[in-house]
């Protein structure tokens, strides 16, 4: 039986997909300037863009890898990478089975998912106090 990957569908990734990359870079540049100007955050959902494999790869190549590569373990795994352009982050969210939930590019100083929430810190404080008390 012919499996899916053997079916001879040749997707022609002309360059329509690649041609999106300069436009996306200009959007990210505007967003970066906007963040510097008034702190406005910006987010792109890659699933909503008509990017083929080639275009996606070209975008990833253009943005490169920055100094931070973090893994967040909630509802499965999430990877938060800073690109070579400080303030532009590439986020990939996966479920418990490793399936892709969504992929985003955020323009911000720190993606919200990395920030420790005050409510969570308060809950941690209570848990730590209980632990300390139990050890006395």
């Amino acid at each position: 039986m012919v499996t899916l990957d053997q079916i001879a569908i040749v997707v022609e990734e002309d360059d329509a997909s690649n041609r999106m990359v300069p436009a996306l870079l200009r959007e990210l540049l505007d967003a970066l300037d906007g963040f510097l100007r008034d702190g406005t955050r910006h987010c792109l959902d890659l699933a909503t863009l008509p990017l083929g494999h080639a275009g996606r790869h070209a975008l990833e190549e253009a943005l490169g890898q920055g100094e931070i590569d973090a893994r967040v373990s909630v509802l499965g795994s999430s990877r938060v990478r800073e690109t070579a352009f400080t303030g532009i982050w590439w986020l990939r969210h996966e479920d418990d089975n490793g399936a892709l939930l969504c992929e985003q590019i955020e323009v911000t100083d720190l993606p919200e998912i990395l920030r420790a929430d005050r409510g969570d810190i308060e809950a941690a404080s209570a848990r730590l106090a209980a632990l300390a008390a139990s050890l006395n």
Binding site: R41, D45, A47, A99, L101, G119
Partner: protein, 369 residues
């Protein structure tokens, strides 16, 4: 509409996450995945998170009538958002006779209690068609007819979600000869917003995503059959990975011929993808594993009104009663494709676009009568 919300003293969605031991990070990831599922623009994705962080969980009452429980089976297999997150964190599921632990009179009393506390504000989810003759005597649960239950519970609802083709359009119970006189929810509930999530069953993420959208933004934009356009805005054919073969006029003509083995278009084998609006080709099933056409079988058209009565599942659209003459047009495009190749692809797309503008209202649907 009144905003769907809150049971008395219900925590917000974010508080509910935190009370169940999840961090804000979990909540943010849940929101990001849901916003992506709903194809929300970036700005609205942030609003989704903000709204869910501040809104109390709405009370949800889920009633099952003439149905096979396949829709609920589907719902329990939602990957994102998962059903567990939905019922533990996003909504307060006050009544579902299959999922709840309570049974008998105590279950019915709990439903009445939940309705009283959130009167005018709860969300009613209905699964299954409703028989109308003889005061609804063909479907009775707990001594009360489906007809009476629906009318009673819908009276206090802020919005009604009809899950599955039976609830949305009558489905199998309404199919010829419709022995019980079954009708759809929208035929009985006239004074509340009704959202139809059709499919036999619907894609699970469409059910959970629509509930989250309703909570966060209210009733989504709907098509002429009251289905959310975000999920039912395109045909299966529009997004099918076998579409290039249709455009080239390459068709499987039996389930074991060369075309079938090569993964060619299933139009000749009765695929109803060209006239079926749903997200199977993009969202797929079982966590994005595949969808029927990817498994080698044509689309049955299960999310369209009256799909059981539209002729043979295994004959091409051109020989059935599917749509207003669209089958013939598609057949012409298919034959032309075999002869003209690329030129037919353009013609096919133009016809498809024309079809998109045309209604596919089925004559058997009660609203069409």
């Amino acid at each position: 509409m009144s905003e769907p919300s809150p049971a008395v003293d219900e925590p917000t969605v974010l508080e509910s996450f935190q009370q169940n031991g999840f961090s804000r990070r979990t909540f943010l990831k849940f929101c990001a995945a849901t916003a992506s599922l709903l194809a929300l623009p970036a700005a609205e994705a942030a609003v989704l998170a903000e709204n869910l962080a501040t809104k109390p969980r709405p009370t949800v009452i889920y009633l099952s009538f003439q149905e096979c429980t396949g829709c609920l089976e589907s719902l329990t297999r939602s990957f994102s958002p998962t059903l567990e997150h939905l019922i533990f964190n996003v909504v307060s599921l006050a009544y579902n006779d299959t999922l709840q632990a309570a049974a008998g009179e105590s279950a019915e009393a709990a439903r009445e209690d939940a309705m009283r506390k959130a009167w005018g504000k709860y969300v009613l989810v209905v699964d299954g068609a409703i028989p109308r003759p003889l005061d609804g005597a063909y479907c009775v649960v707990g001594g009360k007819s489906a007809l009476a239950s629906l009318q009673h519970v819908a009276e206090g609802a802020a919005a009604v979600i009809a899950v599955g083709t039976c609830a949305a359009f009558g489905g199998l119970p309404l199919a010829n000869p419709n022995p019980t006189g079954a009708v759809a929810v929208q035929d009985l509930v006239r004074d509340k917003p009704v959202i139809n999530l059709s499919g036999c069953p619907p894609i699970p993420e469409i059910i959970t995503g629509s509930v989250v959208y309703l909570l966060s933004f209210g009733v989504p934009e709907l098509d002429e059959h009251r289905r959310p356009k975000v999920f039912f805005g395109n045909t299966i054919h529009d997004r099918c990975y076998r579409r290039p073969f249709y455009d080239k006029g390459l068709f499987a003509t039996s389930f074991d011929d060369e075309g079938a083995r090569n993964g060619w278009c299933l139009y000749e084998l009765g695929c109803k993808g060209p006239t079926t609006y749903n997200s199977c080709a993009t969202m797929k099933w079982n966590g994005g594993t595949s969808f029927p056409i990817e498994s080698g079988h044509g689309c049955l058209g299960c999310s369209e009104p009256g799909f059981w009565d539209r002729g043979d599942f295994y004959h091409p659209l051109s020989t059935g009663r599917w749509g207003s003459g669209m089958g013939e047009k598609l057949a012409v495009a298919a034959v032309a494709g075999a002869v003209l190749g690329g030129a037919a692809a353009v013609a096919g797309r133009q016809r498809q676009k024309a079809r998109n503008d045309a209604s596919t209202q089925h004559p058997d649907h009660p609203e069409a009568k």
